[in-house]
Each structure stands twice: as structure tokens, then as C-alpha cells.
């Protein structure tokens, strides 16, 4: 049952009946190695302080010694659930800087892969957050269907998770001859499976009681905290980069940006479920119309960007992913910054979890869909 207690004025000193609990770094509900230092009074959360850095790998420093095609391969070790979007962001940034126009075929292939990746990511989010809320069946259902998408990935680019498929100038190989057939088969199958997901959790009264009205994030706060992706859209913040700054094949297609109104945990859940339907619509619009042509343009052996700063934003499965490259005209970048969606999303947690019970904190964390290496980089 969702319960909310009045917010307290938090002071730095810990009161006599408050105590501190460390959730993490090794805890199943933190989805990785995040540490939440929570201040509790009984079950009620007074303050949550996220401590990160347990998987910090210094990717931004490493990129300064690498060439641009090499950077692409590091990016899918950050947010491994939206690996292709991360690859694409760097590739688009390099292509825009060099003013290279990629073939239409590449745009279509990249967009289809984006949406397949989004589906796979949302499926994994569905089963992991179901498990956080105590529904173990969700874990088996979600990962069963996810394997079908991974098979499609494997057929074309040989990898299941870290695809490394986009390269500056196009994609690494042409699609597999069976690609269109297997994508269509998957979508027909998954359209029948998705109502099962709703039946299992979304319509479940216990699940609804645990999420409805819990952890409300208002639209103003979502904008102020820079919360993007399905989490921000559930609060009514229209932040879909695919809609506002379209890239690849997104200008050619019709799709809805799913906006929520309540901004509570249930709405964040619902927006992601709706996005899965929308992703399938997008793929269906593109899959039959992939134009003939090359799968890549010929790039120079050593790619050197002109001097200047370049920023590219794409919509990853978690929100707005940005790449900011400062180039001094050499083959290595001067500075690369990755704007990761999870970083901004995570730090709202103190703002919205105050006053809720610790079990609600898990529900809020589950619907935020955090990937920790994406936050830590």
C-alpha cells in the first residue's frame, strides 16, 4: 500500500531515533554497484545520498589516447543495454563534423537496430524491475523473449550484447539475408507476448498498489533536474530527441511520443510498456522499405576531425545520450564528454524518495531503470 508521510526538514545532524543504512554496493535492487546511503526513521526514508564510483573506469580519459573509430568500441561498455545508440551517437558526431552524408540504407539499418535495442533494453528492464518488486516469473518471461532479439543481432553482427555495429561512415557489415524475415517473425511473435506482460504485472492489483502514487516527480522538477527518457516523459516533460532533433531515419517515419501525466512509478512503468508497442510500429514502417545501396561510405584511413567542438544527442533507452567532442585537428580528440542519461536521473532520487517507506524506494529505483556503468563511465 502506498503511504506517504509528511516531509521533514532535514538537518545535517542525525537525530536520536534516526539511523543510517547502506544499501549496496552489492545489493540486488541497485542493479549493479551503486551505494545508497539512506537515513531512516523506522521504515520512513528521510534522506538518500547516492554514492557512485564503484565502477568508474575513466573512459573519458582513455578516449584522449584513442582514435575516433576506437572510441566507438568503448562506448558500448558504458550503457551496455543501449549499446547501439551509444555507438551511433559517436558515429553521427564524427560524420557531422566531417560533413559526410551516409547512404540512406545505413540510416534505415541504424534506426531499426536502435529500436530493436530499445525493445531488448525495455524487456530486460521489465524483468529486472519485476524481480525487484517480488515477481520472479517476470524474470523468466522477459529474458525468454529477449533471446529472440539477441538472435537477430547475432545473425547480423555476431555479438549479443556489445554490438560494435556502427562505424564512422556506415555500419560494419551488410545485414544478413534473413534479417528482414527474422525481424518480421519476431514482431508477429512479440505482439502476442506483450499482452501477457500486462496480464502478469500491469493489471495486477498488488503491483498497482505498490506503484500508483509512489515517488511522484512533477514536470517542473523533471526539467530542472534534467530527467529525460521514459522517466522524464512519464512526468509530462516532452524530451524525446527522436522527435525534437531527429537523426538517421526518424524524420521519415510517423510515431507518437508517449507522454504521461502523473509522474509516479506506475506511469513510468506504463510509458515504457507503451514505448515497446511504439518501437514495433517504427520497425514495421521501416523493415520493408530498406533501400538498396552501400552499407558504408569509404572513409579515410586515419580520421582527423577539423578543429572545433561538436555535440551530438541521441535518444538511448534511458534518455538523452550526448557526445561532446573537442577536437584540436589531430587524430585523437582533445576531450570527449559523454552526457549519460542515468547520471541526471539518479540524483533526483533523494528529491522524490523522501518521506516514502524503504520498500517504496525499491519500487522507485526499479522504475528509474538505472544502468550503473552508464552513470559512472
Amino acid at each position: 500500500m502506498a503511504e506517504f508521510s509528511e516531509k521533514y526538514i532535514i538537518t545535517d545532524e542525525i537525530k536520536a531515533d534516526e539511523y543510517l543504512v547502506n544499501i549496496g554496493p552489492q545489493h540486488p535492487s541497485t542493479h549493479g554497484v551503486l551505494r545508497l546511503l539512506t537515513r531512516l526513521e523506522g521504515e520512513i526514508v528521510h534522506n538518500v545520498e547516492p554514492h557512485i564510483g564503484y565502477i568508474h573506469s575513466g573512459i573519458e580519459k582513455m578516449t584522449e589516447a584513442l582514435s575516433y573509430p576506437q572510441i566507438v568500441h568503448l562506448t558500448d561498455r558504458m550503457d551496455y543495454l543501449s549499446a547501439h545508440m551509444n555507438n551511433e551517437a559517436v558515429c553521427l558526431c564524427v560524420e557531422n563534423a566531417l560533413q559526410v552524408e551516409v547512404p540512406e540504407r545505413v540510416k534505415y539499418i541504424r534506426t531499426i537496430f536502435d529500436e530493436l535495442q530499445r525493445l531488448a533494453s525495455h524487456q530486460l528492464w521489465w524483468c529486472a524491475s519485476g524481480m525487484d518488486l517480488g515477481a520472479l516469473t517476470a524474470f523468466f518471461y522477459g529474458l525468454r523473449d529477449r533471446e529472440d532479439i539477441l538472435d537477430i543481432f547475432e545473425e547480423t553482427c555476431g555479438a549479443r550484447l556489445t554490438l560494435n555495429y556502427s562505424v564512422p561512415g556506415g555500419v560494419m557489415f551488410d545485414i544478413h539475408p534473413n534479417f528482414q524475415k527474422s525481424v518480421k517473425a519476431f514482431i508477429t511473435k512479440f505482439r502476442k507476448k506483450l499482452p501477457e506482460y500486462d496480464k502478469l504485472l500491469t493489471d495486477n492489483i498488488i503491483f498497482q498498489n505498490r506503484t500508483k502514487g509512489v515517488g511522484v516527480l512533477s514536470k517542473e522538477d523533471a526539467i530542472a533536474f534534467g530527467v529525460t527518457g521514459p522517466t522524464g516523459r512519464a512526468s509530462g516533460f516532452s524530451c524525446d530527441v527522436r522527435k525534437h532533433h531527429p537523426y538517421s531515419a526518424y524524420p521519415y517515419i510517423k510515431f507518437d511520443e508517449k507522454l504521461g501525466t502523473d509522474g509516479d512509478s506506475f506511469m513510468r512503468w506504463k510509458v515504457r510498456m507503451d514505448e515497446m508497442w511504439e518501437s514495433m510500429n517504427i520497425i514495421e514502417q521501416l523493415i520493408d522499405n530498406i533501400p538498396e545501396g552501400d552499407f558504408a561510405v569509404k572513409m579515410k584511413g586515419v580520421i582527423k576531425l577539423p578543429e572545433g567542438e561538436f555535440y551530438q544527442r541521441v535518444e538511448s533507452a534511458r534518455g538523452e545520450f550526448g557526445v561532446y567532442i573537442v577536437s584540436d585537428g589531430k587524430k585523437n580528440p582533445y576531450r570527449v564528454k559523454f552526457r549519460s542519461p542515468g547520471f541526471s536521473n539518479l540524483f533526483t532520487i533523494n528529491h522524490i524518495a523522501k518521506g516514502w517507506k524503504i520498500a517504496d524506494l525499491v519500487a522507485i529505483m526499479a522504475t528509474f531503470d538505472l544502468v550503473i556503468p552508464d552513470i559512472d563511465r
Partner: protein, 178 residues
């Protein structure tokens, strides 16, 4: 192999068995029994740091199903677990935590280093300031699984290798030799 001195006789746990003809055969059979039980109920700890954790989840789920080999469920606390699968990179801030988790697991305990990051630092070997160059700098590792990330089949193969390793252990003989 028999008992040679009186001192050694008193120290051993099963002195009577081994001092008779054929006693060591019984010990070997006892070893085999214990190892059979141990090797078929190794429960891993839910410990995932990077991309390999997703493949570890895939191994636990429907298609690959690690429960077939006795790796029944992943436990959330180290006190109930028998092994750690280090799925992902370990950095200098995380290393003391990993050591502590390892110390909390009851003996006998096993470690699988899954993926290039845990084996050697992998893609973060050069120029990264915060990644430990291999998890075996922190805790002893039994099985190394290369790959970035390894396929679920590779992890299943590592499970089978670990079972073989457990089956070769000589628990009682070891006690006699001490």
C-alpha cells in the same frame, strides 16, 4: 599410506581408518561422496558489475538455465553463497568491497573471473587510471572465462570445469597430510 608415528596418529581425524589395510580406499570413497555433493550444489552470489552481469542473468534464465548443472539459484548474500562470478571490471574503489564479500563466504569457496575485464582489465588495461588489471590481484581465481562479454555457453563450460575441479579435491587426505 599408513600412519608412521604416534604423534601423527593422534593428530589425525580418521587415524583408525587409515592405519588398517584398505583404509585409504574408504577415505577416497568418502572424498568422492563429499565432492559429488559439493560440486552439484554450488550457489553463486548475485554480484554483477558490468555487461557480463547481463549475460550471467541470461545464463540463469529460461534458455540457458544454469540450474541444470546444480548452480541452482543466485543468492543475494555472501553468507549463503558458495562462489563468486566476477562479472565485470573491478576498480580501486570496489576492490576492498570485493575482498570483504569474498571473506564473508564460508569455505569451501570458488571464484570464476568472467570476461576480459575480470581476467586482465580487458579493454580498460591501457590508459585507465581506476581499473584493477585483473581481479586476481584482489582475490584468488579458480576459472578464467575470456570474452567481452563471454557467451552464455562459455560460462556454462566454466561451470562444468569448476565441477571437475571440485571433484578432484582431496579433503580427508589433505587433513591426514597436515
Amino acid at each position: 599410506m599408513g600412519i608412521t608415528s604416534k604423534k601423527e596418529f593422534e593428530k589425525n581425524d580418521f587415524p583408525v581408518l587409515d592405519s588398517y589395510e584398505g583404509g585409504s580406499i574408504i577415505l577416497t570413497q568418502l572424498d568422492a561422496l563429499v565432492n559429488w555433493a559439493r560440486s552439484n550444489s554450488v550457489w553463486p552470489l548475485t554480484f554483477g558489475t558490468r555487461c557480463c552481469a547481463i549475460e550471467f542473468m541470461a545464463v540463469g534464465a529460461s534458455r540457458h538455465d544454469m540450474a541444470r548443472f546444480g548452480y541452482e539459484v543466485a543468492r543475494a548474500t555472501p553468507r549463503q553463497a558458495d562462489m563468486i562470478i566476477i562479472s565485470g571490471s573491478i576498480n580501486y574503489k570496489m576492490a576492498p568491497v570485493l575482498k570483504r564479500l569474498y571473506d564473508q563466504i564460508a569455505d569451501p569457496k570458488y571464484v570464476i573471473a568472467m570476461g576480459a575485464c575480470a581476467v586482465s582489465g580487458g579493454p580498460f588495461y591501457y590508459n585507465s587510471y581506476s581499473i584493477v588489471k585483473g581481479a586476481d590481484h584482489v582475490i584468488p581465481v579458480d576459472i578464467y572465462v575470456p570474452g567481452c562479454p563471454p557467451r552464455p555457453e562459455a560460462l556454462l563450460y566454466a561451470f562444468l570445469q569448476l565441477q571437475k575441479k571440485i571433484k578432484r579435491e582431496k579433503n580427508f587426505k589433505k587433513q591426514l597430510k597436515k
